[in-house]
């Protein structure tokens, strides 16, 4: 047991202590979130706040790491699968698990040192960023999508985006904008089958895991600015998004520094 983390000791003399101290929030325990849970547990992250209201279905088994045929047959909550994966590696792990949308019970998210979201909608991402910014929590988003424009083969792509309080936000770097949010709202309830595959989910989650580790250990001594990476799954290439370079040295205009803490309302 004492040498469990020897192979990652290059992360730094205090790295394992930081990893064991950090409280990680994971919102969404589907294709991306299930990989995150597994990898963070292997690394020794020992405090979690987990959200997912869904149960395991047969259609999840193509990508939900840790889930079994029996879980699908019994419609076991995804939270239970995540807890099982975590406790199998870390019996003493501290898990605050909530089978609800995070918006219905947001207080636990505020206790996190970093949040990773594997959410489906832009609106959910926007709302989660507002919460993370208000309570000074770094937020990493991962997402994957497939587009089909006949007669070309399907194009699968994804993103990993880090929103750090005090730095350019999702809107500043062009990841979120009002037009896309409005377009999504018009399609409400018509989301389609949301194509997802295990290898692409795994790659995005692995990069996000690496960001979490770097954030709390500073092992690379080079993570000093927001991250916006795009993944072209057809070619297997991950690159920084070109928009990032235009925003990285600008102050965020969407989340002023004094706009933190509990929201307050001033009567007119």
């Amino acid at each position: 047991m004492t040498d469990r983390y020897d192979r990652q000791s290059f992360l730094g003399a205090r790295a394992q202590e930081a990893i064991a101290t950090a409280r990680v929030g994971i919102v969404g325990l589907g294709g991306g979130g299930s990989h995150l849970v597994q990898q963070l547990a292997h690394l020794g992250f020992s405090h979690y706040v987990l959200y997912d209201p869904d149960q395991v279905e047969e259609s999840n088994l193509n990508r939900l790491v840790g889930a079994t045929q029996t879980d699908a047959l019994e419609h076991r909550p995804k939270l239970a699968v995540a807890e099982r994966v975590l406790r199998a590696l870390l019996p003493e792990v501290e898990i605050d698990a909530f089978a609800v949308r995070w918006q219905d019970h947001p207080l636990p998210l505020r206790s996190c040192d970093v949040i990773v979201g594997g959410l489906d909608s832009l609106l959910d991402r926007s709302e989660l960023e507002v919460c993370a910014r208000r309570f000074l929590v770094p937020y990493i988003d991962i997402g994957l999508g497939v587009r089909r424009i006949a007669p070309e083969p399907p194009r699968m792509s994804g993103q990993i985006v880090l929103s750090m309080p005090g730095y350019p936000c999702f809107r500043c770097i062009g990841f979120l904008n009002e037009e896309d949010l409005a377009a999504e709202a018009r399609l409400y309830g018509d989301a389609g089958p949301r194509p997802q595959v295990v290898w692409a989910n795994g790659l995005l989650a692995s990069i996000a895991t690496g960001l979490v580790v770097d954030l709390v250990t500073d092992w690379t001594e080079s993570l000093r600015a927001p991250v916006y990476l795009t993944y072209d799954a057809n070619s297997g290439v991950v690159l920084p998004h070109p928009r990032l370079r235009y925003a990285v040295n600008r102050a965020c205009v969407h989340f002023p520094d004094d706009d933190i803490g509990e929201p307050t309302f001033t009567p007119l």
């Binding site: 636990p108 040192d113 970093v114 000074l136 309080p165 005090g166 770097d214 954030l215 004094d258 509990e262």
Partner: protein
């Protein structure tokens, strides 16, 4: 009860830069950090967002301690805490890198200040001690008869966790 204190790295750097300035006769500088309050499911969360250094003229000569200041500085801090409904933390710098901790004198001073501040502004108050790259806090919650366990997180690139205290 666990208290979390979370501050931006840029704000932390502002504190360190100001507190590291030499004073004409005091061995160290002191200031006040004012924090908004929030709640998590595990306890209070303090979000410092304002800093006021103790004015040069408010320091009092005393070779027995690193810094001593007069009642005008305390009155000004109390007034701001009350006017803005914010927690007030006395802050100073231990000029080294790595985890830091409160001295016996730090604890005594902070305990006296925090308990008197609580009597007038019923919020968490206390003290913050910084190193060049970390911080720790001593926090008194309203109606508690001892300091609560607190941990400071410096949020940014990188995110740094201070030692839990006490």
């Amino acid at each position: 009860m666990n208290v979390a204190i979370r501050l931006r790295r840029a704000f932390f750097s502002t504190l360190v830069d100001d507190l590291a300035r030499p004073h004409a006769f005091a061995f160290e500088r002191v200031g006040w950090v004012f924090a908004r309050q929030a709640t998590t499911h595990r306890g209070p969360l303090l979000l410092p967002d304002w800093y006021e250094p103790v004015n040069d003229e408010d320091y009092v000569r005393d070779d027995k301690v690193g810094a001593r200041f007069g009642t005008a500085a305390i009155r000004a801090a109390l007034q701001r805490a009350r006017a803005t409904n914010r927690s007030c933390l006395q802050v100073h710098l231990h000029d080294h890198y790595g985890d830091t901790q409160f001295s016996w004198t730090d604890c005594k001073t902070i305990d006296e200040l925090a308990t008197s501040f609580r009597a007038l502004v019923a919020l968490p108050h206390g003290g913050l001690v910084l190193s060049r790259d970390s911080a720790t806090a001593r926090i008194w919650l309203p109606d508690h008869d001892s300091p609560s366990s607190a941990r400071v997180t410096i949020v940014g690139f990188p995110t740094r966790f201070g030692a839990e205290h006490p």
